[in-house]
Amino acid sequence: MNELVLAIELAFWQQTLIKVLVAAVLVPTTALIFGIVFLFKVMSWMQSRMGPQEAGPRGLLQLLADGAKFLQKEDIIPDKADRFVFKAAPVVVLASTFLIYVILPAGPDLIISDLPTGIFFAMAVSSLSVIGVLMAGWSSSNKYALMGGLRAGGQLIAYELPLILAVVGVVIQAGSLSMQDIVLAQANGSMLGFSGVGLPFLITQILGFGIFMVAIQAELTQPPFDMPVAESEVVGGFHVEYTGFRFLFFFLAEFATAFAFAAIAATLFLGGWYVPGIDPDSMLANVVGPIALFVKIMVVAFLIFWFRFTYPRFREDQLQRFAWKYLIPLALVNITITGALVVAL
């Protein structure tokens, strides 16, 4: 399957090598962008303070400086810890992040692997990070870490379901699990006979979008769902014993996953790389697509981080109640309504 990439025939291993190199650069970069833009700049702006100013122009190089600092930190593993599991945990969390990027489309040809199971695969691998978090929490042999890990486990499985069920409405409308097909379904759709801008599923799946946004907030263990990593309760939770770059891997994975989830939300509900007026089969779409996707990701991410900086923390039982008594029944109602309308119309 020698695909034509930039008019050059490439063998499978060459394609894979390029994809691996691109992803190895892209994933940390997305984490850096989110860290700098949202965690530093938007957060300080929303909280009326300055934020980092010293490293580089307007403090833009602060995270790189932090990375260089973490690289020089001594690597400490507690005596009581289960060394193998302790070392493996960041790898599992990071692997989960990398695997989500496999199915993110940035253009008609710009996708690492357009799996036929696309979105289902993304939901499956994103839940792998729970195992990494539980591994970190358990292997640290620390009470805070254990409690944080268990909290994370309970939270992630509770919000996994609304996340998956919210996607079903989109799948019903697109008739496919493949991310590219979902983008094309939106590009080829029409609103009440007007097909000029396609049909972003945000319009028909507004309930699904709301559930999805709340659920990814919880999956990312961000405020207001940050009990697993609450500083004031469990001093950072599952990563309390991690130091240096091992700690930074969790941070990197969290922000890269935030980017990936924002990209999934942008693809499912806002039309992904599709720009109205540009033929989705043309070469131009490969050029404009990534830019359009990036803009949509930043819009979605602004919402995610806006919630993060604004709301106070939930209590653990409130969190569980919210998922099981509100979000999951709502998601089931959403599936029912979407199914009925799609069949009836």
Binding site: V20, L71, D79, F98, Y144, L146, A158, L165, G175
Partner: protein
């Protein structure tokens, strides 16, 4: 509805389509290993520049600055373990819902490795909708039962 096109593929096209399929998931496997490679590379690079000055105090479990009490794996009451059981039920439901959702409306083309249409599968339509709604209803009944039995609360 299946048309009467034979579903058998010739040996060569079948081989190619399997190879495509396997390559897609080989890429997935490589990307899982990429995480390992990245961790190894960065920690390896860090090993060249980071200090290593072992002192016994550094390796004690952190417990707010005082010496740790008891062991690090205490028995804890997991107050929401029953949710995990419920989760399994609904997760299995999701496995059934996704294939159904792809074929509810719209026709699905069954294609071979070259993209040629072998058969056109008709949508499930209202028949499939009613069936799935019954399925969801039974599952929702389970959730309501758990709710009424006061399982969905802090125990």
């Amino acid at each position: 509805m299946l048309t009467d096109t034979p579903l058998l593929l010739s040996a060569t096209t079948a081989g190619e389509s399997y190879s495509d399929f396997l390559r897609q998931y080989l890429t997935v496997g490589i990307f899982a290993l990429l995480a390992l490679a990245m961790v190894a590379a960065i920690l390896g690079a860090g090993a060249l520049i980071r200090p290593n000055r072992p002192q016994p105090g550094k390796y004690i479990t952190y417990e707010s600055g005082v010496d740790p009490v008891g062991e690090g794996w205490p028995q804890t009451q997991i107050r929401y373990y029953i949710f995990a059981l419920l989760f399994v039920i609904f997760d299995v439901e999701a496995v059934f819902i996704f294939p159904w959702a792809t074929r509810l409306a719209g026709e699905t083309n069954l294609v071979d490795s070259t993209g040629g249409v072998l058969a056109v599968l008709s949508p499930y339509g209202s028949y499939g909708l009613v069936k799935m709604l019954l399925f969801i209803f039974v599952l929702a009944l389970g959730l309501v039962y758990a709710w009424r039995k006061k399982v969905l609360r802090w125990m």
